[in-house]
């Protein structure tokens, strides 16, 4: 279980980026984190994954403060895929996935590690390009390769920061289906930052809406996706329609 308690955070002497954040990550769910640019979503995930320390408050993983757990052990619990992976680096897909085993084997791959890597490649349908360099495959394939790495990392919690960036609609839908499958098939707990509210509405079990470093509101898609809540969160007029039981936001005006 991950509990976030009274987290505040600021960069340097700037105004507070996160202001007294409290929530509990729902197990076996896809939680979508939504909010305007600069609301503090990426910062919040970085704090939870212990990439940057919180200024005050604490994050508890299974009851233990994350700041007190060794970095290597945090890496066995939480995997975090950052927003932009601008990789101009020539590493084969398979080797990238192998990096995911690092927290477990420290670079010396054993049979069990190779099995996990092979399973992850299989699961993400990457076997046929396993030997290609990641700078010569498509954006969608590259994103899948990083997800495969995180699968190989074999953590119960997965944080994804805008995984749909640079993906076209087909790949975006495919990616969200994979995210869903990871929860239903493998029992993962996933927190995902999405900038398109429609993807959150369609695929998330739970939505957390952030505004100016605070949690504005959290709840099920049915509770969150309405214009009274979303208009102030994004500072934008939404027109929400219902179609086949799903809510869709029309945001062009």
């Amino acid at each position: 279980m991950i509990e976030v308690k009274n987290i505040t955070q600021s960069y340097g002497k700037n105004v507070d980026i996160l202001k007294d954040i409290n929530f509990t990550v729902r197990e076996n769910c896809v939680t979508a984190l939504v909010g305007a640019n600069g609301a503090g979503k990426s910062t919040l995930l970085s704090v939870i994954a212990n990439l940057i320390p919180a200024r005050s408050g604490e994050v508890l993983i299974d009851g233990k403060a994350v700041a007190k757990i060794k970095t290597a052990d945090v890496a066995k619990k939480v995997a975090f895929l950052k927003q932009s992976q601008h990789f101009d680096i020539r590493i084969p897909v398979k080797d990238v996935v192998e990096f995911g085993r690092f927290p477990h084997c420290g670079g010396r791959m054993k049979d069990a590690d190779n099995k996990k890597v092979s399973d992850a490649l299989e699961y993400m349908d990457l076997k046929y390009i396993a030997h290609k360099y990641i700078d010569e495959i498509s954006g969608g394939q590259r994103q899948r390769a990083f997800i495969a790495m995180i699968l190989a990392q074999d953590t119960p919690y997965i944080f994804l920061d805008e995984p749909l960036n640079n993906l076209d609609m087909k790949y975006s839908v495919e990616m969200m289906k994979i995210v869903k499958k990871l929860v239903t098939d493998l029992g993962k707990t996933i927190v995902v930052v999405l900038h398109d509210i429609n993807f959150a509405s369609a695929y998330a079990d739970h939505i957390i809406a952030m505004k100016d470093g605070k949690i504005h509101k959290e709840g099920s898609p049915a509770e969150i996706v309405n214009s009274e809540i979303l208009n102030p969160v994004f500072g934008h007029e939404f027109n929400i329609v219902e179609r086949d039981g799903k809510r869709v936001c029309l945001y062009f005006n």
Binding site: A49, T71, K82, R90
Partner: protein
């Protein structure tokens, strides 16, 4: 067949390496002192026995002719033995250490460049384009200024401290600058190195140590005295191979590394210590070998990719082959005299560096044209 298709680069490098090792051991003014002299142990022992046997022959009952023949035989055996002995000595105390020095310093500098490039995520970083080498020279000079005639190990220590500090300053400044054009970084680094060099020159001038400084800056594998220091390179090389996966992960960025549970700052520091240790000990032992740390990692990663675990051995082999080639050229152009290996490495390495630089500028233009 498939195997050869995949591995031909490796096979070619290994073959070239072996050929060059052979040449390196064979060429030299003293003919006949080649690799064969390593295998003359049995012959020498036989000659020793023969000498003892000839010595033990009683001369009382011999007439003049027989005595002359015996003396003649003794002399020939002795000469043969002395010849083998000196050839072997040249081999063991000059050519072999020289070969080890070439291989170790080249492999070391290549690894140092590779680590610097991973740490800074910049393909143009290397000990000779980040002030590291120049700082090592300054450190060595300061050692002489303050402590007089130091043993090589202490000189190496001073060189190490200066190299480490200078490299840390440069890498942290560069990471803060956030330059868009990576090709400027080696140019800034060369300026920075020039600045350190200028300080060294000024101090050398003030303290009348200019000749010593000039001697430092001319690399040679014939500088027998400090050769032993080059064996220190084995330690950082060993550590680099041990932690190679960590260094690869560092090369993917701080957040990426932290996500995988790698202590980013500590590994970066370890990397810089390794770089400084290698740069300082090779500098004290053989002098500067410019561009090796820049062009060899670029070659190795363009062939075998950026997963350092897969390229580190090839990288060392490339480096050793390249410097061995330069060393052999330096020994042949003025035969029977030797040219400074720094000159050869600078000329050959400089040309390759220019090619990389121009290619880097062009690819930068291409990217901007696309955007």
């Amino acid at each position: 067949m498939e195997f050869f298709k995949k591995q031909w680069k490796r096979i070619a490098t290994v073959l070239l390496f072996i050929v060059l090792v052979f040449f390196s051991l064979e060429i030299g003014a003293l003919s006949g002192a080649g690799i064969r002299s390593l295998f003359t142990g049995a012959e020498m022992r036989a000659l020793e026995l023969e000498i003892a046997r000839l010595d033990a022959i009683p001369t009382d009952g011999l007439d003049n002719a027989e005595l002359l023949a015996l003396i003649q035989e003794q002399r020939e055996t002795n000469e043969r033995f002395n010849q083998l002995y000196s050839q072997r000595a040249v081999m063991l105390h000059s050519r072999l250490p020289r070969l080890f020095a070439v291989i170790l310093s080249a492999a070391g500098l290549s690894v140092a460049g590779l680590l610097m490039q991973a740490i800074s995520r910049n393909k143009f970083m290397s000990p000779s384009t980040a002030g590291t080498t120049d700082a090592a020279a300054l450190g060595m000079l300061m050692g002489v200024v303050f402590f007089g005639d130091l043993p090589a190990l202490a000189q190496g220590g001073m060189a190490f401290v200066f190299a480490l500090v200078a490299t840390m300053i440069f890498t942290s400044v560069i990471s803060k600058l956030k330059l868009r054009e990576v090709v400027y970084i080696p140019l800034i680094g060369i300026l920075y190195g020039g600045l350190i060099s200028a300080v060294a020159t000024a101090i050398g001038f003030r303290t009348a140590l200019t000749p010593i400084l000039m001697a430092f800056n001319m690399g040679s594998f014939a500088r027998l005295g400090n050769f032993t220091l080059v064996y220190i390179v084995l330690i950082p090389l060993f550590i680099s191979v041990m932690f190679v996966t960590k260094f690869s992960i560092i090369g993917l960025g701080e957040d990426f590394a932290k996500n995988l549970g790698v202590n980013y700052k500590r590994v970066v520091f370890l990397g810089l210590v390794i770089v400084a240790l290698i740069s300082a000990s090779t500098f004290v032992a053989v002098g500067p070998l410019p561009f090796v740390g820049l062009i060899i990692p670029n070659m190795a990663t363009s062939f075998y990719g950026d997963n350092l675990k897969k390229s580190i051995w090839d990288l060392m082999l490339f480096g050793a082959t390249f410097v061995m080639l330069c060393d052999i050229i330096s020994r042949l152009v003025l035969f029977p005299f030797e040219m400074n290996v720094t000159v050869t490495v600078s000329v050959v390495g400089g040309i390759v560096f220019m090619i990389y630089l121009i290619r880097g500028m062009n690819s930068g233009k291409r990217i901007r044209a696309k955007a």
